[in-house]
């Protein structure tokens, strides 16, 4: 308790609060622009933080992190463009809500879920991170392989109708992930002798191309047909929080489950917020009494996505703070930042630099509050974005997407990849292939392969340990049940549809 107070006192100087404020706003801006992410915001500001003391420097980075993860919901809800990988599934129900004129409700729920999800994960981080991190250490290659395989089976719930199309989409994602140096032996695959392909495709141009560029192509095409719903979205009125407290209380269980998923996925190094929101969304859909309503603008979808992605922040910090192991790309950079500030990350960080670590916790909470205040007060302003004619707005967004893609590795190749995946996404939308399985396959494919190969290296080629590890076995069983269950459900639905046809005729 003393340490928590000490941490807060470290952060409660006027300058530091201002720094957190600036970090949060900048993070929100980065998060809200498709193509710019929390990772990039942290990368750009890392050198700036070196000029500050360790506590101010970390305060800045925490503000950026929280802001960057939260800002993604703005374009996701208003424009159907996920600003960051963390907000992919926010588009599923957030955008349909906005189309119905309920953008205020979507924002209200999204912001509140983000805030509470973030807060919950910070509390977990402060209170029980050492034992959680120790538990995460039980995850070796076998366990990672099993968890990833399980996550891949979620594709069946994301396939919107045709399971076959969903599978093809996911496999396509895995194939795109093959391009470049293979994990483990760095053997170049599908590079066609091009140096640029040697590093493979980066997640950001793939995501932004698939979701943002293709969406914009689609809108441009539809523009001629009608000026869809544009009016409706900015005609709405926001009252108070945008939703009634009872609505949120009804979401209590969904919120809690999604946040726990966010924290858990965040803790596992390498998987991160981009996957957490999809897993939370699918779980919410599967456990819902009305899974059919998902995707039409249901509260549950927004709550699941936004609470889990912010909860993943606290999760990713658990192994960083207690063991010195980064949980995602942002925390990898924070690790570098800590070292350069002279703080050796590792099991002794908390013991040797307690005040600073608690300062980091305090900064996270403060940044979370700023995020809440800013998004709420800005809500009305964001919606004004939509009154900008699309022929001005979209070129600007596209320019930013290109800049963002280029900024990933400072390579023009990534900007071309963005265009390529934009066209791929557009073709997929036109031919009614779901996009989310592709991105899931793209993210999870390499994790699956790497851990399979590492596991086999460990066992000398023996598959048995993948089944005998208790954690791995549990996840493999869940994966098998998940596949079986979804096949069973589709069959049942088919039968019901046939029967209702018979009755009708």
């Amino acid at each position: 308790m003393d340490l928590i107070l000490e941490g807060f006192s470290l952060m409660f100087s006027f300058d530091t609060i201002l720094i957190i404020l600036a970090g949060t706003i900048l993070g929100l801006i980065f998060g809200s622009i498709p193509g710019l992410t929390a990772t990039m915001a942290v990368a750009i500001c890392l050198p700036i933080s070196f000029g500050m003391g360790p506590s101010d420097g970390m305060a800045l980075l925490m503000g950026l992190y929280i802001g960057g993860v939260s800002g993604g919901m703005i374009p996701a809800i208003l424009l159907n463009l996920p600003g960051t990988p963390s907000s992919i599934s926010t588009t599923f129900d957030g955008y349909p809500m906005a189309k119905k004129g309920l953008a205020g409700r979507a924002f209200g729920l999204g912001i509140m879920s983000s805030f509470l999800g973030g807060l919950l994960s910070i509390i977990v981080l402060v209170l029980i991170s050492p034992p959680l991190a120790k538990f995460a250490l039980n995850f070796g290659p076998f366990e990672y392989f099993a968890v990833t395989l399980f996550a891949l089976t979620l594709i069946s719930s994301l396939s919107e109708g045709s399971l076959a199309k969903g599978m093809i989409s996911a496999l396509l994602g895995i194939v795109f992930a093959f391009v470049g140096s293979a994990p483990i032996d760095a053997y170049p695959r599908y590079t066609f002798g091009m140096d640029a392909l040697g590093a493979g495709f980066n997640i950001l141009p793939v995501l932004i191309g698939l979701f943002a560029i293709s969406e914009m192509l689609k809108v441009i095409e539809e523009r001629k047909k009608n000026t869809i719903n544009q009016k409706k979205i900015h005609d709405y009125k926001i009252k108070g929080l945008g939703f009634s407290p009872i609505t949120f209380i009804k979401q209590g269980w969904n919120f809690l489950r999604s946040s726990v998923i966010g924290v858990a996925v965040g803790i596992l190094p390498g998987i991160g917020g981009g996957t957490a929101n999809i897993i939370a969304y699918v779980t919410a859909k599967r456990q819902s009494k009305n899974p059919k309503k998902f995707g039409t603008g249901i509260d549950d979808g927004v709550v699941a996505s936004e609470s889990s992605n912010n909860a993943a922040v606290g999760g990713a910090l658990v192994p960083l703070i207690s063991l010195g192991i980064p949980g995602d790309t942002v925390t990898a950079m924070l690790l570098g930042g800590l070292v350069i500030h002279g703080l050796q990350p590792g099991p002794l960080l908390l013991e040797q630099n307690g005040p600073i670590v608690y300062g980091i916790f305090a900064a996270l909470i403060i940044a979370n509050v700023f995020m809440l205040i800013f998004l709420y007060s800005g809500m009305r302003g964001f919606v004004r974005l939509l009154s900008i004619p699309k022929h001005y707005l979209y070129p600007a967004i596209i320019a930013l997407c290109v800049v963002g893609a280029f900024g990933v590795n400072n390579r023009l190749f990534d900007a071309y990849a963005l265009l390529f995946f934009g066209i791929v996404g557009y073709i997929m939308i036109k031919t009614k292939f779901p996009l989310t399985p592709l991105i899931l396959g793209f993210i999870l494919g390499p994790i699956l392969e790497t851990n399979l190969r590492r596991g086999l290296q460990l066992t000398g080629g023996d598959f048995l340990p993948f089944l005998t590890s208790p954690i791995a076995a549990t996840f493999l069983i869940i994966a098998a049940l998940s596949v079986f269950f979804s096949i069973f459900k589709t069959q049942k639905e088919k039968k019901m549809a046939e029967e209702s046809k018979k009755i009708a005729s």
Binding site: A43, L46, P47, F50, L137, N138, G140, S181, P183, I184, D185, A186, P188, D195, G198, A199, G200, I213, M216, L217, I220, E221, R223, K224, P269, P319, L323, G324, I325, P326, A332, M333, L335, G336, V339, I340, G342, Q344, G346, P347, L348, P395, I398, A399, V402, F406, N409, N410, R411, L412, A415, Y416, L419, G422, T450, R453, R454, Q457, L458, G460
Partner: protein, 329 residues
């Protein structure tokens, strides 16, 4: 319908134009070549680190850039370009404008990338600028409760159970070469498992998935202090000043040494005056007391090698590494 297609087409075209425009601006900076190099540097210098953030390459480079930007009186900005054992970032520098505003900061793996054919270029394709940091703490680390208390117990166990003891590496990385050298020098055989980069190695050792990790002593001292890890030895001629308790391999009868040096290199054809200016700044940085003080707790030391010395060092090591690699096949 036709009109709609046209709109989409026009849109794609404008996107393409935008991309080409980006490309042009990249190309036009080539023109900087011809301009007077006497006012160098008059804009920020980009340092390409061909590895991710959080590792020792990134750390050592970022610390040096703080001082370099003071010396050169301009911003020195790090960008991480990971992939393919570092060859992607290295290649990017090779292909960038030779105007002194893009520089590579890398280490020994440049030789190994070439040996393992991850890259079709090597140090000779660059204009070398010198070194800034030397890391002699190439250590073997085990869990604190491990049965391997010294090298001899490790060698004995490996002879008893050849190919069964799990030792971590990243295929094609510097540590991979160290393991090959160790196996050859001691006549042992280990099960080499790729567990990933530095942080992932720590995770694997903490989680008990692996028996030994070869890594930089400076990256694990926190874990040694906390009683989680123990250092079996370092592959250096002498014990480190900052870690006098860790014995060398030579003391334990295994005569292998490795040094990890962090060098800077420009694309070929960068004007000599510019490289000279950068090299001079690099030398000043290594002599800066603040820089030295900042490196001390990390168990690495400042080391300036001139481009000529660096070239010679590269030549020696290339022969040495080549022999090692060939013997292991």
């Amino acid at each position: 319908m036709k009109l709609r297609k046209f709109t989409v087409l026009a849109f794609l075209l404008s996107l393409a134009v935008l991309l080409v425009a980006c490309n042009d601006s990249g190309a036009s900076s080539d023109g900087g070549n011809e301009s007077d190099s006497s006012d160098y540097p008059n804009k920020p210098i980009q340092v390409v680190v061909p590895a991710g953030a959080g590792g020792d390459t990134d750390r050592n480079t970022r610390i040096a850039t703080k001082y370099l930007s003071e010396e050169l009186d301009t911003d020195v900005v790090v960008s991480n370009v990971g992939g393919a054992g570092g060859s992607v970032g290295a290649k990017q520098v090779l292909d960038s404008a030779a105007d002194g505003y893009t520089v590579l900061a890398f280490h020994n793996s440049m030789i190994i990338n070439d040996l393992l054919e991850l890259a079709d270029f090597n140090y000779e394709d660059y204009q070398l600028a010198g070194t800034s940091v030397l890391d002699l703490g190439n250590a073997f680390i085990v869990s604190a409760d491990s049965e391997y208390t010294d090298l001899q117990s490790l060698i004995d166990a490996a002879k008893e159970r050849p190919g069964e003891i799990n030792i971590a590496t990243e295929t094609g990385a510097f540590t991979h070469l160290q393991l090959l050298a160790f196996q050859e020098a001691t006549g042992t055989e280990f099960n080499l498992v790729d567990v990933g980069a530095a942080a992932e190695k720590n995770t694997a050792l903490l989680g008990g998935q692996i028996d030994i990790i070869p890594t930089q002593l400076g990256l694990v001292q926190e874990y040694i202090e906390s009683g989680d890890f123990r250092a079996v030895g370092i592959m250096a001629d002498e014990r480190l000043e900052g870690a006098p308790d860790v014995p060398t391999f030579a003391e334990q009868g295994v005569d292998i040494t490795f040094d990890k040096f962090f060098f800077w290199a420009f694309p070929k054809d960068t004007p000599q005056e510019i490289v000279d200016q950068f090299t001079a700044a690099l030398e000043n940085v290594t002599n800066n007391a603040d820089f030295q003080a900042e490196l001390e707790p990390l168990l690495v030391e400042p080391l300036y090698m001139s481009p000529e010395e660096l070239q010679a060092h590269f030549e020696t090591l290339t022969t040495e590494y080549k022999t090692l690699h060939e013997n292991s096949q």
